[in-house]
């Protein structure tokens, strides 16, 4: 286990060390201490390493992550795992706005609640939130899966494209062009896999699926307001 004191050694040294790890590195286990809400912790990683950040993080922790498993042993600030390409990011506490924004791949697990715009413009990432998500979550979500074990706030899935949304609790309101959809066997399969991989205590049958009505896919003046 490599332990890195962020306060003592600084952000540039941390990210440079983590980004320097190769595919074959022996230094696969890292611990970051004294995070103290710093921004841009463990960004741009591209190696199969495990990083645990002790304490809460600021903006963009695990931004553009590829391959790495990054665990935040606290809560995460805005934009955790933004534009993630692959790998896994786990937030033990809550996540602020834009969690998983524009993510292309990988798995983001938030064990607490996620704030507004969770999964905004997601492009293939899988997001599992064990608590609730705030308003405008999955706005313009293009592809991937979002699982919400609690409730969803206003305007869920506004202007959504092909992403799949699974919500166990209530949905305060659906956004434009987002509708409840039939839960078919292939969706149960996807959901069961995500539940298992994220360690959630839930059953697929407890969820409803939401997605695009595909009425906004081509410009039509009747859709303007």
């Amino acid at each position: 286990m490599q332990t890195f004191d962020l306060e003592a050694n600084g952000l540039r040294a941390l990210n440079a060390a983590l980004q320097a790890q190769s595919q074959q590195t022996n230094e696969t286990a890292w611990e970051v201490v004294n995070a103290k809400g710093s921004h841009a912790i463990a960004v741009g990683l591209d190696a199969p390493i495990d990083v645990t950040v002790r304490g809460s993080t600021g903006y963009y922790c695990a931004g553009m992550n590829a391959q790495a498993t990054i665990r935040v042993d606290g809560s995460a600030g805005p934009g955790v795992a933004e534009n993630m390409m692959s790998g896994t990011v786990i937030v033990e506490g809550d996540a602020s706005q834009y969690a998983g924004a524009t993510g292309h791949g990988g798995l983001l697990v938030i064990k607490g609640n996620a704030s507004s715009r969770c999964g905004i413009s997601m492009k293939g990432i899988d997001i599992v939130v064990q608590g609730n998500v705030g308003h405008m979550s999955a706005f313009m979500a293009q592809s991937g899966n979002m699982v919400v074990c609690g409730d969803a706030g206003d305007a869920l899935g506004d202007s959504i494209y092909e992403a799949r949304l699974f919500v166990r609790g209530s949905v305060k309101s659906l956004g434009a062009d987002c509708v409840e959809k039939e839960m078919r066997p292939e969706h149960i399969e996807i959901l069961a896999d995500l539940i298992e991989r994220s360690g959630v205590d839930a059953k697929p049958e407890e969820f409803k699926r939401y997605g695009s009505a595909r009425q906004l896919y081509n410009f039509n003046i009747d859709n303007a307001y």
Partner: protein, 447 residues
């Protein structure tokens, strides 16, 4: 007077200056379709521009440099504030961001070839980086846009600079839409969306709002790219003093300022013509912000929006810019709106020079299209050669004017080298009205 007196004087038919034939036609079109007009390009209305400025030249009080003989350098370094690998371009003209998707792959390759031959940079657009343009661009600026279509850390690290796009001159405060007819398999794959559906680009970034967030976003981008890449911030010509101030505060290495004449691939005509300011009105305010911060020439300023000639370039530099960017002019250089396609433009209901339905993907020149047959009309090697020629001519023109003002580097041009032909241009450029030593708003004077 007899009722049948046909020789009596009569009032001539008078067309309204308010309800012009163009206005009336648009009213009828709107009434018939119920849809506002969407088009490409920038503002077509007449606005105060570089044509309204003149260089004074040298005489007794200034001495000129010998044309063709005495050196007049044109190189510019961009991104020296924080980036460990700033870009040096040979000429003060860059190619503005235009997307693969809006443009054909051949057009993007042409831009890369021409820019590289001329020793300058080209820029990606909404939709990500294609291998063609990376391969043919010796210096490539990678745009970081609200949609994040195609955004990934591998391409980010391949870039020579990163341009965080906050806005553009054609539509400050607006997003974009690539209509479904231009969404080929390849464009769809790069954008993670199904083929044939409209692809909306949001008007603001998904994971930050405001200058304080932007500062952290720039930090993240620098951390991902090892603090090597210059970070540009591009803004539309809206509130140039404050936007420049906040971009610098957020940590930009370079500010890109785009006036309302700057083009877009597709947006509402009402947006293009009625939002934002002419580039002439923006430059001095942006420079004033840099000077107030002590950052003029430390943070470089690239201006765009209606740059057509070496004279425009030289005037922009004289007003304080470090470099310029061209978009529409570059497309014209590689063949856009060429009269040789007149018959096909007529079939589309338009004429060469006025074709602006770039969003429909039927461009006869093979530039603003994804149609494979139309795209094949554009030879990237030949088109790249034309762009290189054009960039060389603009550079020679700018050098000629700089030498006439006695400058050994184009960046030595200054506002004192200029006068204005109109009150409006004098006020915007803050240079004297021709024949006077005064401009509206000149400190110590009243108007």
């Amino acid at each position: 007077m007899a009722k049948d007196d046909t020789h009596a004087p009569r009032t001539l038919p008078i067309q309204s200056a308010t309800f012009t034939p163009e206005v009336n036609a648009e009213i009828r079109r709107a009434a018939a379709t119920g849809i506002y007009d969407i088009r490409g390009g920038g503002a077509k209305r007449r606005v105060p521009h570089f044509d309204d400025l003149l260089f004074l030249g040298a005489s007794v009080s200034r001495y000129p440099l010998e044309g063709y003989r005495e050196r007049c350098d044109t190189n510019v370094v961009l991104g020296s504030r924080y980036a460990s690998k700033p870009i040096e371009i040979d000429i003060p003209i860059t190619i503005a961001g235009m997307s693969f998707g809006a443009l054909s792959a051949q057009a993007k390759e042409s831009l890369g070839r021409g820019a590289s031959a001329a020793g300058t940079s080209t820029t990606t657009g909404d939709g990500g980086m294609t291998p063609e343009e990376r391969g043919q661009s010796s210096k490539l600026v990678y745009q970081y846009l609200p949609s994040r279509y195609g955004m990934n850390p591998v391409d980010l690290r391949k870039a020579d600079a990163i341009e965080v796009v906050v806005g553009q001159g054609a539509k400050p405060g607006g997003g974009g839409m690539l209509l479904g007819q231009k969404i080929s398999d390849r464009v769809a794959e790069m954008r993670n969306l199904p083929k044939g559906i409209d692809q909306r680009s949001a008007c603001r970034h998904p994971d930050w709002t405001g200058p304080d967030d932007l500062e952290i976003k720039i930090l993240e981008l620098r951390e991902i790219t090892n603090w090597e890449k210059p970070i540009y911030v591009k803004v539309g010509g809206a509130r140039p003093y404050f936007d420049t101030t906040l971009a610098v505060k957020a940590g930009a290495d370079v500010v890109v300022l785009d006036g309302m004449q700057g083009g877009t691939a597709a947006t509402q005509d009402v947006f293009i013509e009625h939002v934002g300011q002419p580039i002439l009105a923006c430059i001095r305010e942006s420079v004033r912000a840099l000077q107030d911060l002590g950052m003029h020439r430390q943070v470089q300023l690239i201006v765009s929006g209606g740059i057509r000639t070496g004279a425009d370039v030289a005037k922009a530099l004289a007003l304080g810019a470090d470099a310029t960017a061209i978009g529409t002019a570059a497309l014209i250089a590689i063949g856009d709106n060429d009269p040789k396609w007149e018959a096909e433009y007529n079939e589309l209901g338009t004429t060469a020079g006025a074709y602006d339905d770039w969003h429909e993907g039927q461009d006869p020149a093979g530039i603003s299209t994804q149609d494979p047959e139309l795209s094949k009309r554009l030879d990237p090697v030949e088109a790249g050669r034309r762009l290189n020629n054009y960039l060389k001519v603009m550079t020679l023109e700018a050098q000629t004017l700089a030498r006439a003002c006695g400058k050994s580097h184009v960046l030595n041009l200054e506002p004192e080298d200029l006068c204005a032909l109109t009150l409006e241009a004098a006020a915007m450029a803050k240079v004297p009205l021709s024949g006077t030593d005064w401009w509206p708003g000149k400190p110590g004077t009243t108007f």
